[in-house]
């Protein structure tokens, strides 16, 4: 495994754990490289509940810009970076933590709406409700 793929695998691992500091590395990479990085991790990618909590909390705290939260949600929901590549694309297989799949999915879906003309803003109150949905007090 090349150093570049190893580094990308590390970034991917951080990203699926809700560390959006790794978003840039994934967004700028070729999709084939992301697929190789996912393979290099050796285990199926899984979004834990804590990742969604981290992103929503970062959105509330201002640590993450709304656009970053949307980009994260889009990537983990679709399995590829939006509008970067043309032609058929093999998504990266990304599971959600089984016990919280529906709540993680709800959070991801809502965050992915950020920027839409309709429902394009997630207010702090709504974000707090998402945290509650995710089991955070």
């Amino acid at each position: 495994m090349s150093v570049a793929i190893a580094d990308l695998a590390t970034s991917l691992d951080r990203l699926i754990r809700g560390d959006l500091g790794s978003l840039g590395a994934i967004v700028s990479a070729e999709h084939t490289e992301v697929l190789r990085a996912a393979e290099a991790l050796g285990t199926p990618l899984m979004i834990p509940r804590t990742a969604a909590i981290s992103v929503v909390r970062g959105l509330i705290d201002g640590a993450y810009a709304p656009e970053m939260a949307q980009a994260w949600a889009s990537f983990v929901g679709a399995g590829f970076v939006a509008n970067r590549f043309t032609g058929p694309i093999r998504p990266v297989a990304i599971d959600f933590e089984e016990a919280f799949e529906d709540t993680i999915s709800a959070a991801v879906s809502r965050l992915d709406e950020i920027g839409d003309l309709v429902d394009g803003e997630v207010t702090t109150d709504e974000a707090l409700k998402l945290l509650q949905l995710l089991g955070e007090p």
Binding site: G77, A78, N83, F85, E101, L117
Partner: protein, 162 residues
């Protein structure tokens, strides 16, 4: 053969472009929600009251749609398990993105063994909603993915993902 629940709709129905003349006028209007909040997208009423013509909204140019069978799923869970093989894996992932409010889960067969997958989610803003669409090939590769936002007056915007 795909596994599915619900009905298999007729095929080869004419598609209409949002905003086309047939999609407006009369008592019906494309993308309108009735008093109960139920979406009225699939039933397109013609301007002429003399005849009705049902259509299945894809949001696509008519030329790109060749009318494979439409599989209607009664629930998100049914949709997630509705297809088999690699396409089924892709469909499971796509329909996972639906919420408890989502409805009208469908898979339309495409030439070559792929599917157009879609579901509708009412927006938080009453009268509005979003149609999520993903086209996949027989191996589960994503050909196109987008969502259309629809309001009381019809189509508002399309956001492409792929």
């Amino acid at each position: 053969m795909p596994r599915h629940s619900g009905n298999t709709a007729a095929t080869g129905r004419k598609q209409k472009r949002p905003g086309s003349r047939e999609d407006h006028g009369g008592t019906g209007r494309f993308g309108w929600l009735d008093g109960t909040g139920r979406r009225r997208l699939r039933a397109c009423e013609r301007v002429s009251a003399q005849s009705w013509e049902s259509c299945w909204y894809s949001g696509d140019d008519p030329q790109t749609v060749t009318g494979g069978a439409v599989l209607n799923f009664g629930s998100r869970a049914a949709a997630r398990e509705g297809l088999s093989g690699e396409a089924g894996t892709a469909a499971n992932c796509f329909f996972r993105g639906a919420t408890s409010k989502s409805q009208d889960f469908q898979a339309q067969e495409l030439p070559g063994g792929g599917y157009r997958l879609q579901f509708f989610s009412p927006a938080n803003n009453p009268g509005y909603g979003k149609l999520y669409v993903q086209e996949i090939d027989r191996t589960g590769n994503v050909l196109r993915r987008y969502k259309d936002t629809i309001g009381p007056d019809g189509f508002i915007e399309r956001k492409m993902v792929q």
